[in-house]
Amino acid sequence: MTADHGVAEYGAGDLVQLLTPEGLRLEHPDYPLEISEDELRGLYRDLALVRRFDTEATALQRQGELGIWASLLGQEAAQIGSGRALHPDDMAFPTYREHGVAWCRGIKPESLLQLFRGVNFGGWDPKAHNFALYTIVIGAQTLHATGYAMGMQRDGSENAVIAYFGDGASSEGDVNEAFIFAASYNAPVVFFLQNNQWAISVPEERQSRIPLFRRAHGFGFPGVRVDGNDVLACLAVTRKALQYARDGQGPFLIEAFTYRMGAHTTSDDPTRYRLASELENWKLRDPIERVKAYLSRNGLADSAFYEAIEAEATEFAARVRAACLSMPEPKPLDIFNRVYAGGSPLVDEERATYDAYLAGYEPADSVGGR
């Protein structure tokens, strides 16, 4: 009965791949990619730098400098490929893990660290970078992205929106409503699902019994699965999807099939729920190694190049670390800032009271148990 009702099986051929794990370049009829040698080397640099940034952030967390860190390890290609497909005037809505996309949008790494250190909720101007704040409530940003795209459409803008979310997020009502609104208004939004196969400890199978890219078909728009560890495929497919949206054809779902090589966050312990062998397997499909293989194999980069990137990465990490350590602490009264654009007498009053309290403050122990 199954096949009769639209529940057809999809095979491996459904995965768009332009660069194999071994670094071989493939062509795909629907997703041709023209890319210069410089651009290729640039992608390698992006990948290497964001991985190094991620390593440094994880270290900073271990040393108590960050409250928590959500690593992008393994997802660099999905993020750099899609991030580099964006036009500066396109708008991106990230989750909490899109450090690679943030990099492409020109966000200072320390602006990201501020959120995880707890000095603010993300230290960048969403408008200046066309990169929304990180959203922690799973899926909520996909509706914002859709509304933003509806706004662009109204403005007659030539641009499009990209909304990031995960395999787990695909189960939230909000994400499905975003699909519905986007389809209904034909909004220029690309839904970019990074299927890293885990929602913390819950495997993808709990969220869907068929590949997630097919979710879009039930809502009436295209859905495509791309090798999320293949930066070229991610770039090509995202470019095409953005163009589709810009051309007024409406939403598009990209499922970037990838793997979360690290823990969910630094608070997580994946040994409780997955086998080490799984990770070992995925290491063979590392998103950076295959670009390196391709560059080397084709004589596009030599050891001097890799050493230069390595040196840059080391310096970059040191800069990030220094920026993190020198981050100014927020001040208690900052709590009361910017609750409302138009102010609030209650907030003002509480601020004044608290200020007075702090001024007269003597810690309980400084006065011998009072």
Binding site: N120, A132, L133, T146, G147, D155, D174, E177, S184, V339
Partner: protein, 327 residues
């Protein structure tokens, strides 16, 4: 001009808002051709187009979530929630996103979104159509919450809400939609009472009745009856539930020494609890009696044949006034 009903006054206010700022848009279920189930948006799609007045898919979280995105893009969405009981699917977007984005972005992102909610009972409706969820929004920092009680306020307050750069949850007293009052359409908005000010709608010196939305009329009626017994009751229309205009409210109670708060919402943890707690704190030595509260019972809203018993009415208000005066 001829007296105008609240629903119509809102319609006129919305029309003005649409006229004055091309970024203002209206969105919701059935707000287009139908003009909303209460006709508050009647004729607006016809005159402003379905780009400015949009029927949405049937999904409240989607409505508020996309409105947030539109606001990020520079629009000023006015969202209609069809009935009070249907706002909850959007609760997450309202309390975790709409309320917080300005703060989270350190002021870089503004959220000029109005969420219109017809609220309260008394219209003989089936379940979920008569709720008073205002306290569930007023407790949430980052939101502003107001309720209008008459046509003149409806007309100005909706316009003020639209010009606010903060999200405003705008409660409309649905059972009073058809009650009429004069309104001055030519008075400049800048002359109006500020959106977050309370207003003494009847002066008195023996006791203060605090109310908002549909209960203001009930309290005014009660004050009239009480006057015949020689009790001069001051009635304050609280109007803004977050922030509350404490100076106006406490001044009244300080002056009368007695206070009864009236709302349709369940008394337990309703607006009355905050009003009573803070007024008592501020006017402790002036209080001649404890602040009494008249509200809905600690039950779900009952079937409509019982709503007259559930809802505070003239008699229950007068009963509380008498009890309070007898301290």
């Amino acid at each position: 001009m001829a007296p105008v009903a609240i629903a119509r006054a809102l319609n006129m206010g919305l029309r003005k808002a649409l006229e004055q700022d091309p970024k203002v848009i209206i969105m919701g279920e059935d707000v287009g051709k139908l003009g909303g189930v209460f006709r508050v948006t009647d004729g607006l799609q016809k005159d402003f187009g379905d780009d400015r007045v949009m029927d949405t898919p049937l999904a409240e979280s989607g409505i508020i979530g996309t409105a947030i995105g539109l606001a990020m893009r520079g629009y000023r969405p006015i969202c209609e929630i069809q009935f009070d009981g249907f706002v909850f699917p959007a609760y997450d977007q309202i309390v975790s996103q709409l309320a917080k984005l300005h703060y989270r972005s350190q002021g870089l992102v503004k959220m000029p979104v109005v969420v219109r909610i017809p609220f309260g009972g008394g219209i003989g409706a089936v379940e979920h159509h008569s709720e008073s969820p205002e306290a569930l929004f007023a407790h949430v920092a980052g939101l502003k919450v107001v309720a209008c009680s008459n046509a003149a306020d409806a007309y100005t307050m909706i316009q003020q809400a639209v010009t606010s750069d903060d999200p405003v949850i705008f409660f409309e007293p649905k059972r009073r939609y058809w009650e009429k009052a004069e309104l001055d359409v030519d008075a400049p908005l800048t002359d109006a009472v500020p959106l977050h000010a309370a207003r003494v709608v009847r002066p008195g010196r023996h006791l203060t009745l605090l109310a908002y939305g549909p209960m203001v009329k009930t309290c005014l009626d009660a004050a009239k009856v009480a006057a015949d017994e020689g009790h001069e009751i001051e009635v304050v229309d609280v109007r803004s539930l977050s922030p509350i205009d404490w100076p106006t409210v406490t001044e009244s109670v300080r002056h009368t020494g007695r206070c009864v708060v009236v709302h349709e919402a369940q008394t337990f943890l309703g607006m009355g609890s905050e009003l009573a707690a803070r007024i008592t704190e501020r006017c402790f030595y002036e209080m001649q009696a404890p602040i009494l509260r008249v509200g809905g019972f600690a039950t779900p809203y009952p079937p409509s044949r019982l709503e007259e018993s559930f809802l505070p009415d003239l008699d229950r208000v007068l009963d509380a006034v008498d009890r309070c005066l007898s301290y």
